[in-house]
Amino acid sequence: MNKIINNIHFLFDPLSLFFLAVIAVVSLPALIYAAGYLKNQFSRPRARYLNILTVLFIVSMSGVVTAGHLLVFLVAWELMSLISFFLVAFEYEHEQSIKASTIYIVMTHIGTAFIIAGFMLLYKYCGSFDMGTIRASAPAIPGNIRDLIFLFLLIGFGTKAGIVPLHLWLPYAHPQAPSHISSLMSGVMIKTAVYGIIRFVIYIIGVDTAWWAGIILVFAAVSCLVGVIYALMVQDIKKLLAYSSIENMGIILLGIGLAMLFMALKQPYLAVFSLVAGLFHLINHAVFKGLLFLCAGSVYKSVKTRDMEKMGGLIKVMPWTAAFFLLGAMAISGLPPLNGFVSEWMALQAFFMGAIKADSGMLKLLFGLGAAVLAFTGGLAAACFVKAFGISFLALPRSRQAQEAKEVCLSMRLGMGILAVLTVSLGIFAAFIVKPLAKIAGHVCSIDISDMSFSVNNFILSPQPMKGVYLSPALLGLVLLLFGSGAAVSYFIFGRSKARVYKTWDCGYYNMTSRNEYSATGFSKPFQVAFSFFLFPYRRTQKIRESAYHVKSFSYETHTIPVFKRYLYEPLLGLIVKTAGFMRRIQPGSIHLYIGYIMLAVFLLIIFMRKF
């Protein structure tokens, strides 16, 4: 025991500091936001309880990313999981919260079990719980054990990261927590899983086989597509953001997986570049997803619903929230010159450069397909956020609550504003930010980056292996601003044309109401049809008749089958319940039999200890 306590120490190397920065960047605005958000939402004592939990949550996440000892890491990890469980279950009067938190705590513990198994294997072969010692003796671990450790850690951290098919809890748990907690969970907590993968797989165990990277890349690509397709289908604004988190975790893991692949292929520059792309997207996603969840929280507080079909027209009553949400939506859709654009561009370039350096044609083609998947994700994400913003904020209000919504208070606007400013500046100053990120990546991969260049100066990004390829978000923003303002000037300079405000024309169908508007379901219908091979949509129609000749009302519902839940989790759960039912037979309630079991267990243990 003493030995363990003496060894407890915390790491403050560049990787830990980076993740601490990510935590700080999202936590601070979220806490400022919470001050206003909790007013009139919960009673004073409950709000205080929530604040204490929030702070403990932030501390536990900081503990996860700084722990230098496996046991400390596990304790912090478990604290983080448990506190976030309480946060998800915070609004326990809703049935959904109970369901969401139950799914969450079961899945997260399955993940933790795999992490513990991986750590025990590490301890067995390295003889220490200290990360530095393990790292030093990691190359001595036999190959198949390394593979096993990798798989355990991947499942463990993958559950927390929400990669498909381990994502099931994420769209339940994230929307159910209070909004600033959702923003912390989606913005930061799931990123600690990426920290785990980088820290343990890349930094401590070290990558030497390409198939590890292959597995991560395949799961990441699947997560990208599945996440964004589901995000397109849902009408709950926070659930949409949660699914989009799965997609973005996919993009981040594409960067990480590429870095591992290039390490195995001995391409140091590309490894660093891909890891930088992944880390950059990680902080970008933390910022804009944090922002979007805060905006969704503002909407929820004002409109009292998360259903987009009941929103609409909010841009007029909540101009600030609308502007912030728009900014976040633009960033997540990868529009220039915001931050999401730069990191997606870098990830695409990483694929492209990989194809240039690859020596086999098959590998080149795979890189091309990977880039195409990423581009596809980007295109669908843009559609998804046109829907999210357009349906909830534009046109006519679709319900009374939406009509009577009010702009939120100053502290909430301040919280969102800080993240909005960060979203813009992380984009404009991308070339400047890439330099410290490259240092972190170099540290993680143990690669000397002193002769690698990622940017021409502080404003122009330029990947070294590519000839004459530059990207300057600042310059691009300037060009766009120049043309945009030029157009605006020429619009107004010739005398403002007589703009008359009148009813919507709508091809002559006057007197439209909000019932005529395009709905969120309608907006995503083409996607539902195109992806019907995966979504299995079905509809339920019901006619309510007054008599045989007169239909009083008509209801129409459309649903999709949740493939993973239906065909993976439900059979698995059924199997477990069945096995448990079978196992009950050995528990007949006789105390003599139980004493016999204890005897048997002791015998078996003695034999086990003798043998192994």
């Binding site: 027209g313 841009i315 633009m330 529009l335 220039p336 654009f341 561009w345 370039q349 492209f352 044609g361 083609l365 890189f367 091309g368 880039a371 195409a372 998947v373 581009a375 596809f376 980007g378 295109g379 843009a382 559609a383 956020f385 046109v386 829907k387 357009g390 534009l394 046109a395 006519l396 122009i460 000839k467 004459g468 390829v469 530059y470 300057s472 310059l475 691009l476 060009v479 766009l480 043309f483 945009g484 303002s485 619009y491 044309s497 007589k498 703009a499 008359r500 405000v501 009148y502 919507t504 024309w505 709508d506 169908y509 005529n516 508007e517 395009y518 309608g522 083409p526 049809v529 195109a530």
Partner: protein
């Protein structure tokens, strides 16, 4: 000096942009044995719209008002980044071909929002379809760019083209991009500029609520975007640009060559448009599926050196 010439080129290109549409309309009409509207009709339309009064929907917000400017900015920025006549523009430091794809997405994003903004069902329908089509077009564009990138190990638009006779890889990639161009410039078989039929329109549905000067800007942006795509494709097939130090004679002949390329492209587009029918919306998936396969063929052809 270089900056001056680049700006001159840009201004001339912007002025030229509506002419391309006029040319296509003229060729189409002549192919259909009609006399057709004058070559300069797009200019007349723009002038008419520019000085006309405007009606803005009561439902619409500031998104609706600023969209024409953002759309114009995104199309013009794309045009700045594509090689036309003069080489080595300093604007290439701003971004490469991938950046251009993202820039065009910016304009599309806002146009789709504007379609939803007025609250009409047609606008929403147009937005939904536009995002659907562009979402599926994105991987095709990416893989075409990818195969072209393998030529010179660069995504700079200037280095995407290969001098000499066009290879099979280049041809397939350009065909793939051509299919995307048809969709992006809202032409048959994906969309149809000539009709306002509710069930089929896409681009026209989104801009349905626009009128007067705002509509003039939106039309202008479409012309510029079209010119951008034509310049890109013609550059990829036949990459010729000159440095400003080459002298006026060379610049002049390169400019003439550029015009000839545009005329040829207009002819091709016109012939395609009069000879195909509009597809159902969900056939577009197959259409882009074919484009993606062309892109893959281009990639394979490029690295086996065909």
């Amino acid at each position: 000096m270089r900056i001056f010439f680049i700006c001159l080129q840009l201004v001339l290109a912007v002025l030229l942009a509506p002419l391309v549409s006029g040319m296509i309309a003229r060729i189409k009409n002549n192919l259909r044995m009609r006399r057709g509207s004058p070559l300069l009709q797009p200019y007349y339309n723009l002038a008419k719209l520019f000085f006309k009064g405007e009606v803005v929907s009561r439902t619409a917000s500031w998104i609706f008002r600023i969209t024409p400017f953002i759309l114009f900015a995104s199309s013009a920025a794309a045009l700045v980044l594509v090689p036309m006549v003069i080489s080595a523009s300093p604007a290439y430091y701003a971004g490469d071909i991938l950046a251009i794809i993202f820039i065009l997405a910016l304009g599309r994003f806002f146009l789709s929002l504007a379609g939803l903004d007025a609250g009409s069902a047609f606008g929403g329908m147009g937005s939904s379809r536009e995002m659907f089509i562009s979402g599926i077009a994105e991987p095709a564009a990416c893989i075409a760019v990818f195969s072209l990138m393998l030529n010179n190990a660069s995504t700079s638009p200037e280095l995407l083209g290969v001098t000499g006779y066009p290879h099979l890889g280049t041809i397939c990639a350009v065909l793939c991009l051509f299919m995307i161009t048809l969709a992006e410039t809202s032409r048959l078989p994906v969309d149809n500029q000539e009709t306002h039929l509710e069930l089929t329109m896409i681009h026209e549905a989104m801009v349905l609520e626009y009128s007067g000067r705002s509509l003039a800007f939106i039309e202008m942006s479409s012309y510029i975007k079209q010119l951008f795509w034509f310049s890109l494709l013609s550059y990829l097939i036949f990459p010729v640009t000159v440095d400003i130090s080459a002298g006026f004679a060379h610049i002049g002949s390169a400019a003439v060559l550029f015009l000839v390329k545009l005329i040829i492209f207009s002819g091709i587009v016109a012939i395609v448009e009069v000879s195909v029918a509009k597809m159902r919306l969900f056939r577009v998936v197959d259409y882009f599926g074919f484009a993606i396969i062309l892109g893959i063929v281009a990639t394979v052809a490029n690295f086996i050196g065909l």
